[in-house]
Symmetry: none
Subunit: 402 residues, 2 copies
Amino acid sequence: MRALMLILDGLGDRQSKKLNWKTPLEAARTSNLDKAAKTGETGVMYTIAPGIIPGSDTAHLALFGYDPVVSYAGRGYYEALGAGLAVNEKDIALRTNFATVEGRVLVDRRAGRNDFLLDDIAKDINGMKIDGVKFLFKHTVEHRGALVLRGRGLSPAVSDNDPHKTGEPPKKVLPLINDEKAKRTANVLNAFLKEVSILLKDHPANKKRIARGIPPANTLLLRGPGQAKQIEPITKIYNISADCVAGGALYKGVAKAVGMRVLNVKGATGDKRTNLEAKVEAATSSKADLVFMHVKATDSFSHDKDPQGKKKFIEKVDKAIKPIFKEFDLVFVSGDHTTSSVLGEHVSDPLPILVWGDRKLVRADPGRFNETKMVLGQHRVVGVNIMPILMSKIEKIEKFGE
Amino acid sequence: MRALMLILDGLGDRQSKKLNWKTPLEAARTSNLDKAAKTGETGVMYTIAPGIIPGSDTAHLALFGYDPVVSYAGRGYYEALGAGLAVNEKDIALRTNFATVEGRVLVDRRAGRNDFLLDDIAKDINGMKIDGVKFLFKHTVEHRGALVLRGRGLSPAVSDNDPHKTGEPPKKVLPLINDEKAKRTANVLNAFLKEVSILLKDHPANKKRIARGIPPANTLLLRGPGQAKQIEPITKIYNISADCVAGGALYKGVAKAVGMRVLNVKGATGDKRTNLEAKVEAATSSKADLVFMHVKATDSFSHDKDPQGKKKFIEKVDKAIKPIFKEFDLVFVSGDHTTSSVLGEHVSDPLPILVWGDRKLVRADPGRFNETKMVLGQHRVVGVNIMPILMSKIEKIEKFGE
């Protein structure tokens, strides 16, 4: 039997006046999800725990069955894996933004959110060496990238250089603990940033960007330092094969970290333009026991404070996913966290879950798949409960006791 | 943003015939709470865990976010703090009752529940010394008081002297473990009780009490030995300011123990005559990020097996609290435990919670704020979840992960 875990990022929401005091999921017309919820199992999930605001990385770890308090390795680690960089045991990994400075002052934290020629620039940064440390670098989507430091005596206990606002210079990287490795890592990163600035100041790619009216990518913002963490692969825990269909580097990275195979899907962009049909096609074509399919845009509409856009996108998803109910024996649908489209931020509110399958595998309940009617569902769970629920249904977990 | 935590002591209840098989909270007309519940979040809370009957002290620790299994320091500690006694690191603290003996036999465990001249008596007890141990003593409310032992080689592992019934003599204090400190503490306490009996036998205050027909306060019952426990203050954990509005010494004491500032409120008596309006005024006038407001009488009506009285008192509270919904961004209402007004005792049943706020901060659910309709709420929590839920909403907790 095969199971699909469909995660609509930031799916949970709050009611808003713009939707006549409904949530986007409540307001959306979703005939496929409604039909599935009617014979499926529903309920309420705190992804991590009540009152804890999940990040996307910790939330996905929980959904894959790993306690993030134990297993979380830092955002940079997952971003680097998702970008396709190898991260060895003692490497330090960071997520990066290309950004624009004028003089020393930060004027655009995302270099126009424009990826023109960033691959060229990335190639010149990749392979730099400072004080015995090698820098591996890759551009991913839009202004984003990932950086891996390889060398002796490094630590992830260093601060970001991102001031999180424009009008002032990027910060210096500082050691967060009084430790030689942390100090060395901060020094090496500050030296690296200086060299990058020199390299990018008059870089031909930046000249071309400026000529086109695009802000030059002349500095890097570094965030979320992480380090590889060995965990037991999901494929081994449940003795399954597992494939990932995702656009965003982070989600691919978490999937890789737990031992999933990441499928290459054309048109899976990790943004609002994503080709949902191509992703559904990739998911249904996979032969893996478990397919994890991730859709990012629900979250992006929330961050953009656009509940109507989120509602419409949910309707698009509902149409696109029709084939999955034919191709999979078991389908789990939820989000990784609630993102308020009123506040534009992750919040700690619980979110609805849907476990659909043949009626031999699931038991219908009075719950429905939205933030209001979920309370009538049979499940009250946290994220780490999801994998056992799914795997027990497709007979990948044995009875405990006799 | 500012949050109020309103705890109506022993609010949860069971249905009783006297209320046509409703609970006091179900039977009460509570237009303000009903209105708040309509747009607010509701749910079910076990203060400590299913099947655990909470004491008021352990329950409040949990509501303040501390696991009582780890952080509980013994009732006497909180009573002493609440009475305004300093409790140093190695001190032993106990709660006390003034009681009445005739000959050696206990005839009234509460000395008529009458506080006439007890402050005078307390002053004469305060400062006594036995075998290098100094006794600090303070009368609080009605027949109650708190005692602190200061000296070398003391232990809280000693028994109570309260036989919990009349008609027999108070018990001897015994060491609970085979330990020199426990033995010394028991010896010192028995000697203290003897000296107190001698002091009070013909004390002028008791002569005046007898002349007025009030039972003399001629002995002390000692209970709940505790010892200071260092915990991280609530103000530091969440980087907030926190004020307490309460009448009863215990609640002030727990609030102090977790680092809250206790406001002096005239008319906050910690009993059925409490001035609710004065407390609401004090709470709304506070500028703290978190205000904890405690109302005791709901519990007292339950202990007195008076569900109708409890219902009426809940209606009084509902009227009095109207201003809080204007003055606070976020309001949490619940009890610390369920107290059956049929049995007159704390029971382990879960109780309803209400989280009300601006609709940007909360998500309405179909639940209502009583023991029956709470099941339609979105939350299923234990007490230690409450602070994270509240603090994440008023942005005092950061995202876990990115």
